[in-house]
Symmetry: C2
Amino acid sequence: MQAKFKNSVSLPLKNVKINDGFWSKYIDLVRDVVLPYQWDALNDRIPGADPSHAIKNFKIAAGMEQGEFYGMVFQDSDVAKWLEAVAYSLETHPDSELEKTADGVIDIIEKAQQKDGYLDTYFIIKEPENRWTNLCECHELYCAGHMIEAAVAYYEATGKKKLLNVACKLADHIDSVFGPEIGKKRGYPGHQEIELALVKLYHATDEEKYLKLGKYFIDERGNKPYYFDIEWEKRGRISNWTGRISNRPSKNSEYNQTHLPVREQSAAVGHAVRAVYMYSGMADVAAETGDAELLNACRRLWNNIVSKRMYITGGIGSQAYGEAFSFDYDLPNDTVYAETCASVGLMFFANRMMHIEPKGIYADVMERALYNIIISAMSRDGKRFFYVNPLEVVPEACKKNQTKFHVKPERQKWFGCACCPPNIARLLTSLGYYIYSKNDSTIYINLYVGGEVETELNGSKIKISEDTQYPWDGKIIMKISLKEEKDFDLALRVPGWCSNASVNVNGKNIQLYSKIVDGYATISRTWKDGDTIELLFTMPALRVRANPKVREDMGKVAVQRGPVVYCLEEADNGANLHEIILPKESQLRVEFDNDLLGGIPVIAAEAERVNNNWGDQLYRANTSAEVYKENIKFIPYFAWANRGTGEMTVWVNEK
Amino acid sequence: MQAKFKNSVSLPLKNVKINDGFWSKYIDLVRDVVLPYQWDALNDRIPGADPSHAIKNFKIAAGMEQGEFYGMVFQDSDVAKWLEAVAYSLETHPDSELEKTADGVIDIIEKAQQKDGYLDTYFIIKEPENRWTNLCECHELYCAGHMIEAAVAYYEATGKKKLLNVACKLADHIDSVFGPEIGKKRGYPGHQEIELALVKLYHATDEEKYLKLGKYFIDERGNKPYYFDIEWEKRGRISNWTGRISNRPSKNSEYNQTHLPVREQSAAVGHAVRAVYMYSGMADVAAETGDAELLNACRRLWNNIVSKRMYITGGIGSQAYGEAFSFDYDLPNDTVYAETCASVGLMFFANRMMHIEPKGIYADVMERALYNIIISAMSRDGKRFFYVNPLEVVPEACKKNQTKFHVKPERQKWFGCACCPPNIARLLTSLGYYIYSKNDSTIYINLYVGGEVETELNGSKIKISEDTQYPWDGKIIMKISLKEEKDFDLALRVPGWCSNASVNVNGKNIQLYSKIVDGYATISRTWKDGDTIELLFTMPALRVRANPKVREDMGKVAVQRGPVVYCLEEADNGANLHEIILPKESQLRVEFDNDLLGGIPVIAAEAERVNNNWGDQLYRANTSAEVYKENIKFIPYFAWANRGTGEMTVWVNEK
C-alpha cells in the first residue's frame, strides 16, 4: 500500500552523518555517557539512585532468576527505550561491544516472552491471570509499543531479526485479543504509544495487519459504550494503583484523551505525553490511509497546541496535576509542568506532520523543543535530568509553596519513574531523522546541522555536505556532490524567527522573496557537482512577546536569538529577578562569554532594577517604586542551572 | 492576679450600641438570617447542603437518640461557635425565643458530658477507649476550647451558669489529664484554640488554674521529646483520618506550629488558622503573666505576618496545601488560600496585641481584614460563604488548572467542614469588642463605627456617641455625655491609610501633628458634657503598591479608599482583566453607583487595554502590543461575585 498523504519521508539514519559544532557533543555524550549510565541504572548499579530493577524483571519473567517484580507497572518500557536508543546509535556509530550487550538483553526478552506472544513482566510475574483486564491503568499496550519501536530500530540498525520476531509475535498476539471482530475485546491503551509503533512495524515488515491494528486503536478510542468503564466494572472497580475502589474512569476521560472519538477532538487536553503520542499515531494512520477527517483532527490539535498551549521553549503541559494541558492561553511560568517527554513527543508529532505537508511551522516547533527543552533537560555530564522544565524558578518556592513542589531548581538523578532520560537518549541518537526529508523531486532541509547526507533521487546519488555554526550563527554553507547533473528542488527552511534571509548559489544571490512558500525557500535548478549554496539568516537578539491573552506574560518580554530562547539567572543578575525591568529602548547586545559552558554567546543589556529597600513596609500608597540602572546578562535557557541553585526567569518585566 | 502587660481592655458588649449605616445591616443579617440558617444547618434542615449532624451527635452522646457519629472529628465546634455567636447577639439584642433555643442545646450538651467532665461526641460515641490518644489529629482540645468560649460568652450575656459549669467541669477534667506534673500527659492540642479559651475562662471565673493550664499548653508546645511522635508510636502509627500507617508527625511539625517551642518562633508558618489562634493565646498568656519573652515572640510573629505574609485584603495563608503560610513575600493572588477563618483569627490576635500596646497598626490590620475579607466572605443574603478569598480569579482556571481548584468564583453553601460561617457570625456579633478599649486614664477609639458607648472611668460615667458614614466618608462626629467634668485622654486612632487628618473639638481645630503617637492622636483635656469632636480623615482613592519583593504584584497597583480595597470585575470591565493597564497619571475618580448593592462609591479611571487580536500568533518578535483607551471601574473588593460568575482582580497592571 502506498502512503496516501505523505509529501516526504525521512532519510535512513545511516545516510545522515552529523558532524556539527553544536550537536556532535550532545550525541557523543549520549553514546559515551548516557547509554552506559542508563545501562547501569537498568541494572541497579547507580549508588544513591532509586533502583530500576527493569532488567531483573525480565530475567525473572524469563525464568532465569527468582524474585518479585519491582518498579512501575511500565518498568519494561525503560529497557525498550534504552534498546531503541542503542539501535539508533549503532546505526550511525557501530560498536560491537554495545551490540553484544544489546543482543544479550534481547535474548532475555525473547525468553521472557510467553508462548502465545504475550510480553509484559509485571503481569507475567505478578498477575498472570489479570492480563488485559485493566488497560486504563496498566500500560501493557504502552510497553508493547515501546518494545515494537525498539525492535524496528534494532532491525534497521543491525539487520538482526530476533527482537523484530518478538515484536511481531507480540503484535500478532495483541491482534488476536483486540479488534472490532466478534469475540475480541474492544479495548485500547490507557497510555497511547502502540499506535505509532504499529505503523513502524508495518513499514519494517510490510504487513498491513499491523497498520490495520494501529488504525483500530485510533478508531476505537473514545467510542461509546466506554471501554474503561466496562473493564472497571468487570474488575470490581478496584484500582491497580491503590488496591481500593477507584473513581469511574469516565469521570476523568480527558486525562487519557478518551472523552471523544479522536476525529472529534479539537483541543489538546489531558496528560500531555499521552496526547502527543496519540496525535503522532493519528498522523501516521492518516498519512498511510489517506483519512482526511483524521488529518484534519491532527491539524486542529496541532494548531491548538502551537497557537494556544505551548510555552516559548517548546514545552507543553501547564500543570503538574495529571501532567496535563489546562486551557487556552493558560501558560503559568512557575507552576508549569512542561515535561521533557512531552516535548519529545511534540517533536514526534511535528516530524510526522512535516512529512505530510511541508510547512515551516512544524520544524519551527521542533527547533523550539530541541534547542530549549530537550538539551536543557540533560546535564552537561549526561547524568542528571529535568523532568519538569519551568520558565521561572525561585528555589525557596520549590520547597515552601506546594504549587511548585514538582519544580526542581536542579537536575535530578535517574528517577523511580525514569521516562524522560531514555526519551532524550532516543531522540538525540535519532536526530538525523529530523534534519532532512525528501520525495521524488525535492530534498528538504528542515533543521540546520553540520554534516553530510547521502541519498538518491530517481536513481541519482546526491550528497550534500553542510557546514555551519548554527544556532550561534545564521550562516550555512552547503555543497552538492553529484556524479552527473540533476534537476531537483532543494527546499530550504526559512526559520520562523528569521525576518531577513538570503541565499547565494555559487556566489550569486538568489532573489528569495517569491520563492518562500509556507516557510520553505525552494530552489529549482539543474544542480551540478560542486555547486555551493550559502544561506544567511540574519540573527539579531529578538524581543519576543506573548499573545496578550497569556495572562502570565503580560507586560513581559523574552529574549530569543535564532532558535535559542534566553533567560536571566541569579548567578549573573542576583536574586529577585522579577525586580529587573528591561526598558523597551534598551539595546540587546550579543557578547561572547568564554567561561560559560566552554564559551557561548550571551546577551547583555542595560536595564533598571526596582529598589526594594522598603524596610518593614509591605504596602505603600501613592509612591512609585524607585529604580536604578543595572547591567543584566541573558544566557541561553538550556544553559541554566549549571552554576549552583538560584533563581531563573525567561520572561522579564518590560517598560 | 493583675494582668501584667495589658494597657487597655475591651468594653463589655452590652455597653457598646452599634447604630451604623454600614455595620448595622451586617449584624442584623447575622441575627436575622445567619444564626437561624446555621441553626437549620446544624439540624440538617438545609436542602441540598452537606448534612451537619452536629446537634444529632450531641443527642446521641447524651443518650437521647440512637445512631452513629457523623461528620468531621471537630463537628462539635460548629455547635459551640453557633452558641457563642448567639450569646453575643443576646448580649446586645435580647431575644427570649433564641435564648430558649440556646438553653435547649445547652441542656443536651450538659447531658452529653461524661461524669468525669469529658465532652467530645466523636470519642463518646465512636471510640470511648481512645480518648486523648491522638491529640495531633483529633481536635478534642480544639472542641473543648470552643465550648469554653461559648460558655463564657453565654454566661456574660445571660448570667446563666449551666454551660459555664459544663466548661469548668471539662477544663477541670483536662487539667487532671494534662500538665507538667508526674502522672499527667505532656500533651497539647493538634489544633490550637483552647489556650485563648482558658484565659477567657480564667477571667469569667477568677480561677487561676485555668490560666495556668492555658499557659501550660503554650509552654509545652514544641518541646522535646516530641509529644505527637510519642502518641503516634503508642497508637501503632495509625492515622485517624485514613485508618492506615501515617507519616511520623515530626516530619510535618511546622503545620501545627510544633517545630519549635513557641518562644523561639519568629516566622508565621503552617496552617494559618492554627497559627493565629495560637498567637492569640500566646498574647493572652503574655499579657496576664508579664512574660516578656513570650510577648516578644508575639511581636516577632505579628511583624512577620504584617510586613511579609499578609495580603492587602488582610488575608493570610498563601497556599491551599495545608491551608498554610508559605514564605516571606510569597503572596500569589490566584493560587492563594486566605481562609476566612484565618482573617478572623488575625483579628483576634490584633485585638489582643492592641490591648497590650496601643499601636495603630493593630487596628489597621483589623480594619483590613474586617472591611475586605470578612464581609466579602458572606453573601448579601447571609446564606453563602467564601472559605478561600482570592485576589485574582479566572473562572475557567478554577475548573481547569488544579493549582486553582480550591478557588471558587462563587460563594458556596454551608460546607461539610463548616468552620468559616460560624466564625464570621461570632465575629460580627461581637464587633463591639473591637471598637473601643480603655484603661484608667484613656478611652481608645480603635475603629470608627456609629453608635453609642457607655463606660466608667474612676467612677465617672462617660457616654460617647458616634455618627459617621465611615468607611465611605472620613468624617466622624462624636459627642461626649458626662454628669460632671472629667479629665481623661481620648485616643483617636488615625488610620494608617490616612495622610491628612484633622480634629475639631467644639468647632476649634486641634493641632494634631505632635499628638499622633504610634497611630493614635491623644486629646487630653477636661471634658464637659456636650463636648463635640469632629474628626476628619481625608479619604481620596489611593494607588497602593506592594513591596517590590512581592513577585506577584510587581508592576501592579491596587486601589484603596479608606480601609476598603477595590477590585476590577468582569461585569464592569469585560474579561481578560490582565489586559487592562492603568497609566500612572490616570486620575482615580470616586463616583457613586446607585445600582450596586443598594448604592456604594465606586472608582472610575481612564485606562488602556492591550489589543489581543493576534489571530493564531502565540509569540511575536519585535512588535510591541497595541493599546487603546478604555474606561474602567473599580468596585469594593467585598462587593465582588454578586453579579454572576466572572473574572476579578485586585492588582492591576500599571505603566
